[in-house]
């Protein structure tokens, strides 16, 4: 084996066993909090709470992490959940259990709409999706008539089947696997990555970037819509009537912590899974520490700022706006 080849195989090996930073972060948080609070942190109650929080964030973050791979931002997940939830309530007396289908349909439509607006009108995605979510929030409040509405039925989504693990998590697993599988092991995933990392290169290789952008947003909307079915029941069977910035930001943090930046090409749902775990462990750990909730907010904000700086360190030479 020549020196050159040996060098290459070393690089290969290093790349293969290269652990993403988020894993170290996760392990670090786990060890620190377990040592700090040995009798409070890893109790069944605390674990169950962490898994519940995990479900909340991952269901919101799956779709946007696909969009992030093509270099855009999708904040419609909150709007789809709110408006979809209230439409579900609204249509239940008319359509019966079939009313649940309104959520994936709304997601599909929203994703397609955003994608199409983006590639046709070239308006930046973060503002487009933020405005659309605000629009949906307004419609939600209007349809609800000022009261949070309880959606009945579908209790099997949340009925306990085993200790510690919330049933919602089991229902979320197929969605998580679907998102990861699509991005990792299908030609579609490869093309989406190509569009995100080098649009011009992808175009020259015969990939229609605009078409794949629309596909990414549609897929994201669909995943958010399907996830919202579980989410509605997971978060107590009703949806809030006002826009909660914290809820908008937490999934985005999880995506960034995982190492997917909204500039495209890198990361994906599997990294978001790790990012969500890290976020949940950190949040629970801080929560366990009996810090005042106000202090907690400041710390979460600091972690967030640190996370985006850390995650952006690979953006040298990229045009950043």
């Amino acid at each position: 084996m020549s020196l050159m080849e040996r060098h290459h195989s070393n690089v290969d090996l290093r790349q293969r066993i290269k652990v993403p930073p988020v894993v170290w972060m996760l392990l670090f948080f786990l060890v620190v909090f377990t040592l700090l609070f040995p009798d409070r942190f890893l109790t069944p109650l605390s674990l169950s709470a962490m898994l519940g929080e995990f479900v909340t964030i991952i269901l919101f973050a799956l779709g946007p992490s696909i969009v992030a791979v093509v270099g855009s931002m999708d904040m419609t997940f909150l709007g789809i959940w709110m408006l979809g939830g209230i439409l579900w309530w609204y249509l239940s007396p008319i359509l019966g259990p079939a009313a649940v289908l309104v959520l994936p349909l709304l997601g599909l439509f929203t994703g397609w709409l955003v994608g199409t607006l983006l590639v046709r009108a070239r308006a930046p995605s973060f503002i487009l999706t933020l405005c659309l979510t605000a629009l949906y929030a307004g419609l939600t409040a209007r349809l609800a008539g000022g009261y949070p509405r309880l959606i009945r039925g579908f209790d099997f989504l949340t009925a306990r089947v085993m200790p510690v693990v919330p049933t919602e998590l089991l229902w979320s697993l197929p969605l998580i696997l679907l998102a990861i599988g699509l991005m990792r092991w299908t030609p579609l995933g490869v093309r989406l990555r190509a569009v995100g990392s080098n649009q011009e290169g992808a175009r020259l290789a015969g990939v229609n970037a605009d078409r794949y952008r629309v596909i990414a947003f549609t897929l994201s909307g669909l995943l958010s819509g399907l996830g919202a079915i579980i989410q509605v029941k997971h978060l107590g069977g009703s949806v809030p009537l006002g826009l909660d910035m914290q809820m908008l930001v937490a999934p985005l943090v999880a995506i960034v912590l995982g190492g997917t930046l909204f500039t495209g090409g890198a990361g994906g749902p599997e990294r978001t899974l790790l990012g969500t775990l890290a976020y949940v462990v950190l949040y629970r750990g801080l929560y366990t520490s009996f810090l005042r909730p106000e202090t907690l907010e400041v710390l979460v904000g600091l972690v967030l700022v640190g996370a985006v700086i850390f995650a952006s360190r690979g953006l040298k030479g990229v045009k950043v706006t």
């Binding site: 931002m73 308006a123 995605s125 659309l132 605000a134 307004g138 914290q246 400041v298 950043v320 706006t321």
Partner: protein, 316 residues
């Protein structure tokens, strides 16, 4: 005819804004005759003045092609600082609040221009942090301001209109002069138009970007000071519900999210359109949820109208 068409093409956003203002005023005046009465005018001034100051700040950042999500959080923090420490610091609290927001602006600028974090992400994160600090300082309680100096800053009447009107007017005039007639202003247009070209022609892009964010912070701080002076405290319910109209008014004024076009001279029109529509809707008894829908639609439509499509196919 060609000249007319060219003029329309260049000033499309401003023309749309002016027409929208006129139509909105006619409709609201026809439905509610109090709309343009002296009392109605004062209400309009109160709802648009501090808003204009914050919007002018955001305009500077958007001119460079960046975005600042944290404006609303900064307004909130400045208002909170004033309410909490006015008894202790006296008039100096105004300086402190504005300086703090200026520093936040510098931080936003450094994050974007030096550490190369995309601005919408950096400022979104900063906004969570600032809100956390505001919550930490206030402990979630309501604070009422009785300090005469602080109140007079906003609500003392001069020539039939409250002081806050003159502050907003002064800020706007200075901002227009800076953007149109100073080297710094022209550099902002240059780097917003084409950052690579600006860099190659010797502009210190990082410094100017940081300065733009700092201006945005200072103006957000001033807006917060006047806000608390005007309302005297209370729970500060802002957030996404203020961000959307704020953004809508900047894009409605003709400043594109892609940077390089528009400027503070248009922002005043955007603010007038947005606050008048808001006030008109309130007078008609339209609920705040539908107002949010209206502004979201305006924001989406105007960002599509203003966006600069000559910049190739790069979308984010």
């Amino acid at each position: 005819m060609d000249l007319v068409r060219k003029g329309f093409g260049e000033n499309r956003a401003i023309i749309v804004s002016v027409l929208a203002t006129i139509v909105a005023v006619i409709i609201f005046q026809a439905i509610n005759p109090f709309f343009l009465s002296p009392q109605g005018r004062i209400t309009l001034v109160y709802s648009s003045a501090y808003f204009l100051i914050a919007a002018v700040g955001l305009t500077f950042v958007m001119l460079t092609g960046s975005f600042d999500f944290s404006v609303v959080a900064q307004v909130k923090l400045a208002a909170m600082l004033c309410a909490l420490y006015v008894d202790w610091l006296g008039p100096w609290v105004v300086v402190v609040a504005i300086l703090v927001c200026g520093l936040i602006g510098v931080t936003n600028g450094v994050l974007t221009a030096v550490l190369r974090v995309p601005s919408f992400l950096a400022t979104l994160a900063m906004s969570v942090f600032i809100e956390g600090v505001a919550l930490y300082l206030s402990r979630g309680f309501l604070h009422v301001v009785r300090d005469r100096f602080l109140r007079n800053l906003a609500v003392r009447f001069v020539g039939g209109l409250p002081m806050v009107f003159y502050w907003a007017l002064a800020v706007w005039i200075v901002a227009v002069l800076v953007a149109k007639y100073t080297r710094f202003g022209r550099r902002l247009y240059a780097l917003g138009g084409n950052v690579t070209a600006a860099e190659l022609s010797g502009i210190n892009v990082a410094r100017d970007r940081i300065l733009a964010f700092a201006i945005c912070g200072v103006l957000a701080g001033l807006a917060g000071v006047l806000y608390i002076g005007q309302y005297g405290g209370g729970s500060i319910e802002m957030g996404a519900t203020m961000m959307i109209p704020l953004f809508a008014s900047v894009v409605a004024g003709g400043t594109a999210l892609t940077g390089g076009v528009g400027g503070p001279q248009g922002t005043i029109l955007g603010v007038i359109v947005v606050t008048w529509i808001q006030a008109g809707l309130q007078m008609l008894g339209v609920a705040s949820d539908i107002q949010l829908v209206v502004f979201a639609i305006i924001a989406i439509l105007m960002s599509i109208v203003t966006v600069d499509r000559s910049k190739g196919s790069i979308v984010t």
